[in-house]
Amino acid sequence: MSNPTDLKYTASHEWVKTEADGSITIGITEHAQELLGDMVFVEAPAAGRKLNAGEECAVVESVKAAADVYAPVTGEVIAGNPDLENSPENINSDPYGAWLFKMKPDNAADVAALMDATAYQAHVDSEAH
């Protein structure tokens, strides 16, 4: 499965979608869900929480392992996805639809500076070797 070209990506395997109003939506990539396997627990950050880029802010747990999710940029959380609490498996079936949380970034330029799909794929390939 290829990574959507309209999204930005982080080295820690989050995807970032810029919405029309300038807010961003964050989830974990196909590659990340494939590595973790069957998801059974998600803890998303609460609205209003201020995050620094790279800060641990959510947890996804599969049967196998727990993984931290990091803020892709500095900003404030607008919402966590309440649906994932009861259906964490949606991350496996639809990683680019099952978003974890939304943020209002302090600087749009920080989002623009993240990796594009091609650079992210190169990063994934480099980690595999």
């Binding site: 396997g37 069957d38 059974v40 627990f41 803890e43 947890v59 747990e61 599969s62 049967v63 196998k64 727990a66 609490e85 496996n92």
Partner: protein
């Protein structure tokens, strides 16, 4: 470091396995969904590559007397040919060197199956003890043998479909009993809490056997589901739930240790001199989250630690084995520290699930 491979390595890759480094072995962790693989075993049949485990044959006069001294469980309990016994093998100081299964075949032959990661040290220990206590015994690592576990309510029927010539010799086996069928050594044992067989066979035949089972409808199961199945079944994992620093009485294995008979065995004096202050219990998480090994358990009687934890696909909640102060009781409410939170859990009697059903 180059990973060791089993004779089924190419088959795993052909079947789409995700491979991981498991104690130096290149092993399949899952083929598709780990949860689906788990249910496949509880509801139908699945097969596991356990070629990395080691088969050891102890042969010669006096083999029973030697095992009676070597192991914490009493080899005298098995007198019917083929009967198996689960036991810990202890250090003189009482720590667990390994847990293993012995099969009584004849008074000159016991077969022993040990864990992969401990096989070399186990065999060295057995040989060292034999040199002193039974110098005429031969202890042979059967590196020529492969092993496949076929588990689930339909597992035995599937094995008979593939190996019809073994049916007569194996259909009357009781639980924990094996039959030596020439090239195939078939034991009604396993590590899932389901019925099934563990089959030992020549290495060069195992790939064909694996594909034949698959054609008969037995699905390959990875180490991921193996771990959730054994934990639901309340079976210890060596290196996680016990090791050389912990005794069997603090590891939920008192039922396998015979301290009442006159028999002496390695580690007995240490166990008698050091009554356990902790015990292994089951936990079910009441709050949302997942219990994992090494999480701290807080009880009114003091702190404990989770030794193995996971999400139970059968119960659809998180379960664990935990070592806690000995006065903690079944039904007690305790807390588990997960990241920065204290979550509520309940102490339960385990196993958590067996024979297709949740028990909690």
């Amino acid at each position: 470091m180059t990973l060791k491979t089993t004779p089924l390595n190419a088959a795993h890759r052909a079947m789409g396995a995700k491979m991981v480094d498991f104690g130096g072995w290149d092993m399949p962790v899952n083929y598709g969904s780990q949860i689906d693989e788990h249910h496949q075993v509880r509801n139908d049949s699945g097969m596991f590559d356990v070629c990395h485990m080691r088969v050891v044959d102890a042969k010669g006069d006096g083999v029973r007397a030697f095992l009676r001294y070597l192991l914490a469980n009493n080899a005298d309990k098995i007198t019917v040919p083929g009967k198996a016994l689960y036991s810990a093998m202890l250090r003189p100081e009482g720590g667990v060197i390994d847990d293993l299964i012995i099969y009584f075949m004849t008074e000159q032959w016991f077969r022993i199956v040990v864990n992969a990661g401990t096989a070399d040290k186990d065999i060295a220990w057995m040989k060292e003890q034999a040199a002193t206590h039974a110098p005429k015994l031969t202890i042979t690592s059967r590196d020529d043998l492969a092993m496949v576990a076929i588990q689930g309510p339909n597992a035995r029927t599937k094995v008979w479909q593939v190996l019809p010539q073994t049916k007569a010799a194996t259909e009357n086996l009781v639980n924990f009993q094996a039959a030596d069928c020439g090239e195939y050594f078939i034991a009604r044992t396993g590590y899932t809490g389901e019925d099934g067989f563990e089959v030992m066979l020549p290495k060069e035949k195992v790939e064909a056997f694996w594909y034949d089972l698959n054609k008969a409808g037995v699905k390959p199961i990875g180490l991921g589901a193996r771990d959730t199945l054994r934990l639901e079944a309340g079976m210890n994992l060596y290196g996680q739930d016990m090791d050389e620093t912990i005794g069997p009485l603090e590891s939920g294995l008192a039922w396998t240790v015979d301290l009442k008979s006159e028999r002496d065995f390695i580690g007995k004096a240490a166990l008698l001199a050091n009554p356990p202050s902790k015990k292994l219990v089951g936990l079910v998480l009441l709050d949302r989250g997942v219990l994992r090994g090494h999480q701290k358990v807080v009880t009114p009687q003091g702190e404990g630690e989770i030794t193995s934890g996971t999400f139970s696909p059968t119960l659809e909640k998180s379960i664990a084995l935990a070592r806690v102060p000995k006065d903690v009781q079944i039904g007690d409410n305790v807390q588990v520290v997960i990241r920065d939170k204290m979550l509520a859990a309940q102490v339960v009697k385990y196993p958590f699930a067996r024979n297709g059903k949740g028990l909690i």
